[in-house]
């Protein structure tokens, strides 16, 4: 891959531009930089912002792609699936119930090894009709072979979109990948973002090469036949093989990203904030990181040793790394912007996964509390975070706490 002759800092200066853009716009710009061939769109808030920005880029002559407005999300995802099998680099996306309407197309894509990259503008699932962020939409595909990542800034959205194409289109991977962006907090708020130059991106991102899986008259294959019980397990095992190496590929790509663009993400799977000497940590995904970090600083001033772990990659779930990280603390408070009704301890999805990872891997068994918070776009406030941190600190002292609590709820 790309090797640099100039020192990184100089390289950045000579190429990068800076712009004030939203998370959605950042993803649109990444699509332009990645030279995406086929984009399909169908409006639903908050995803629709990205389709607006891409159509603007196409209209302005800045981006050259097939831009297809489908008649619904199911077709939207089917079209990119077929285009991808024919060798096109594709982009797609949706939100909330739109994502669910595409569900059949979403389920078939991993087995067909379609490296589509999507943006999920996280939105509460109807009913009640609501625009605000909840993570259950993207999480609905968590068991199906999709890769799922959550970002918390427009910069990270842009960078992760480039990383996503490298990861998904790696011949060893070839599965769909969704980048989750919290509705409103990320999709609709503008921040200063460093935009890399096309030459840098071209070095980082090779052409999509589908090889012998390409559907083309010169490579006659039949895709997606009906099979019986003599074939299904072997096909599932092939997808399992992807999950066995997914973490390694992600690590490789982040290393190369850092080498090419000079921006460091450290551990690709999760970000640790002030955890070095922490007694307890909070753990969550997405833009809640902002109030949590502010609250952590405030608590630190009060002498309370609280840290924060922000999970970036939910699928693959880096179980061993997460267990190794979390076993150092006396208690863990997971903030779930989602729900998993009827799950063990009635917790959210992330807490359930964290407990599972720790049960098999961790050397210690600190309590893992769960806080259901910020559903439907409700703000996760700094006082909310302080409250969750206090409860977690109490648990660390050995005071029994309920395993699942709703925070920021009236009543």
């Amino acid at each position: 891959m790309a090797t640099l002759t100039l020192p990184v800092e100089e390289k950045k200066k000579s190429y990068e531009q800076e712009a004030l853009i939203t998370g959605a716009e950042a993803i649109a710009i990444a699509c332009k930089l990645a030279n995406v061939d086929v984009v399909t769109a169908y409006p639903i808030r908050p995803y629709d912002t990205v389709m607006q920005y891409i159509s603007q880029l196409v209209a302005d002559g800045e981006m050259d792609c097939e831009y297809i407005v489908a008649e619904g999300e199911h077709s939207q995802f089917e079209i990119v699936k077929h285009a991808s099998v024919c060798g096109a680099r594709v982009f797609c996306g949706s939100s909330g119930v739109g994502w669910m309407y595409a569900m059949e197309a979403l389920t078939v894509s991993p087995a067909l090894r379609v490296p589509m990259v999507c943006m999920v503008g996280n939105r509460a699932l109807d009913d009640p009709g609501a625009f605000g962020v909840e993570h259950n939409d993207a999480l609905a595909v968590r068991d199906l072979g999709w890769m799922l990542t959550w970002v918390d800034s427009a910069q990270e959205a842009l960078d992760t979109a480039l990383i996503a194409y490298r990861v998904a289109e790696d011949r060893r991977i070839f599965v769909p990948l969704a980048i989750s962006c919290d509705g409103a907090f990320l999709t609709h708020s503008q921040a200063l973002v460093k935009i890399p130059a096309a030459e840098q991106v071209n070095k980082f991102l090779p052409r999509y090469n589908r090889g012998d899986l390409l559907l083309h008259p010169d490579n006659v294959i039949s895709v997606a036949p009906q099979v019986n019980e003599d074939w299904v397990m072997e096909i599932r095992r092939q997808n399992y093989a992807v999950t066995e190496i997914a973490c390694d590929v992600i690590r490789e790509v982040y290393t190369d990203f850092e080498r090419t663009f000079g921006r460091k993400y450290g551990n690709p799977f999760f970000e640790e904030y002030r955890t070095e000497d922490a007694d307890v940590v909070l753990l969550g995904m997405g833009t809640m990181s902002t109030p949590v970090k502010v609250a952590v600083r405030k608590l630190r001033e009060e002498g309370k040793k609280v840290g924060f772990v922000r999970l970036r990659w939910f699928r693959p779930f880096a179980g061993p790394e997460i267990a190794k990280c979390l076993e150092r603390f006396q208690a863990i408070g997971v903030i779930d912007r989602d729900f998993s009704f009827g799950s063990p301890d009635l917790s959210g999805v992330v807490a359930t996964e964290v407990r599972s990872a720790m049960y098999t891997r961790a050397a210690t068994r600190p309590p893992v509390l769960d806080f259901i918070c910020g559903l439907g776009g409700r703000e996760v406030t700094v006082p909310d975070v302080e409250k969750m941190a206090e409860i977690t600190l109490e648990a660390a002292k050995g005071k029994a706490q309920p395993l699942t609590q709703w925070i920021g709820l009236r009543g």
């Binding site: 067909l112 070839f174 899986l213 294959i221 895709v223 036949p225 072997e234 095992r237 092939q238």
Partner: protein, 393 residues
């Protein structure tokens, strides 16, 4: 562990679905009169059924509930006490629509047990098609016309109860004639059917088939690949294009033979096959155009040869052929190989045409060739003939 019985019914998908389901159900209900519990089911992998596809139904009966559970603890029985074949053309081999090659009809039959076939043929004729096997078994024929109807229509020609009568004779440990009669009287409420069952019981006999006796054909098969060796992305390699081929006599190369799927042969799907009179063919292309499976090879002569690896025997070519008796559908039991008819024709024209004439004549009357509905009311018309044969036994 008590006694466990498994009966396998091999039938033609769609055309005999209701019949097979009735027979497996009737076995369980009749055995229940003797206090035996049981279950019946169709092989799930055969559904959704395709027209004429070899399919299987099972009845499992045990002396007690715990033994039955042992029989139910497997997807389908690997070994059966009795195999019933509802169409004699299935003697050439059976496999579900998800093909892995051809399997002999007695694949699951326990050594020494009985294979029952509905047929108008005799044992030597059937053994031209039934494959050789390493263990001896018994072959019993229930004389009758193959009972074909449809998914929604059931031809009540007594095939079901005649099979029950034959089973009572072949495997009395499973069920007695008394329980069969009691079942028919109480559930089917037909004294005529009781008579049919009893007649079948009385007339049913078997011949011993010795080791190595039967069709010597090497069965077409292939091995299921390991997951690492399978192509990714749920994809299958397409067929190469095919091309011209040589006349077996003149060696002149021409025509076009499409490449055929190496793993998917349609041999056992057919109950009939098209036979072609190459001397009256006008090369109108209609059979070639209309064949849904692209099974016609274009010969170097410009005529059309039904390729029997690809033909599923649907009969559309016969329907569309404008020349009288140029393409005729003939019962599959008349044939014992899948060779090219055109090659035979080229080698010995006169012999081929003479063979054609006698074969077509032998294939009459028409009811031997029916393949589902031809017109409304047809089955009612056929029933007297079927019952006549049933009476003769």
């Amino acid at each position: 562990m008590g006694q466990l019985f498994a009966v396998e019914i091999i039938y033609r998908g769609v055309f005999q679905k209701t019949l097979a389901k009735n027979i497996t159900r009737d076995i369980v209900l009749a055995a229940h009169y003797q206090g035996k519990p049981g279950i019946s089911f169709g092989r799930y992998g055969d559904a959704p059924e395709r027209n004429g596809i070899p399919a299987k139904g099972f009845a499992i009966v045990a002396s007690d509930e715990q033994t039955l559970e042992a029989g139910m603890a497997q997807y389908e029985p690997k070994q059966v006490d009795l195999t019933v074949v509802l169409d004699d053309t299935l003697c050439k081999g059976a496999e579900s629509w998800a093909w892995y090659g051809l399997k002999p009809v007695h694949q699951a039959l326990k050594p020494g047990h009985t294979l029952i076939v509905i047929s108008l043929e005799d044992a030597p004729a059937l053994l031209k098609n039934i494959h050789r096997r390493a263990e001896p078994y018994k072959l019993g024929i229930v004389k009758g016309i193959t009972s074909f109807s449809g998914m929604w229509v059931y031809k009540d020609d007594h095939t079901d109860v005649r099979i029950l009568g034959a089973i009572a004779k072949a495997l009395p440990e499973l069920l007695s004639l008394e329980s069969v009669e009691k079942f028919i009287n109480e559930k089917l409420k037909s004294s005529l059917k009781v008579t049919s069952a009893r007649t079948a019981f009385e007339r049913f006999g078997t011949v011993d088939v010795k080791v190595g006796q039967g069709n010597p054909e090497e069965l077409f098969k292939f091995d299921l690949p390991r997951w690492e060796d399978m192509r990714g992305a749920v994809s299958i390699k397409g067929q190469p294009q095919g091309g011209p081929y040589a006349d077996p006599v003149t060696k002149q190369v021409g025509g076009f033979r499409p490449a055929r799927n190496q793993l998917f042969k349609k041999y056992s799907t057919r109950t009939m096959r098209p036979v072609v009179n190459f001397s009256t063919c006008t090369k109108c292309t209609l059979c070639w155009l209309n064949c849904p499976d692209a099974s016609f090879d274009v010969t170097p002569d410009g005529t059309y040869d039904a390729n029997l690896e690809a033909c599923c025997g649907c009969g559309i070519c016969e329907e569309v052929c404008p020349v009288k008796n140029c393409i005729s559908m003939v019962n599959e039991s008349e044939f014992h190989d899948n060779n090219s008819q055109w090659a035979e024709f080229k080698k010995e024209k006169d012999a081929y045409l003479k063979w054609l004439e006698t074969t077509i004549k032998k294939a009459e009357p028409i009811e031997k060739r029916t393949h589902g509905f031809r017109y409304r009311g047809q089955y009612q018309e056929q029933i007297p003939a079927a019952l006549e044969i049933a009476k003769k036994g």
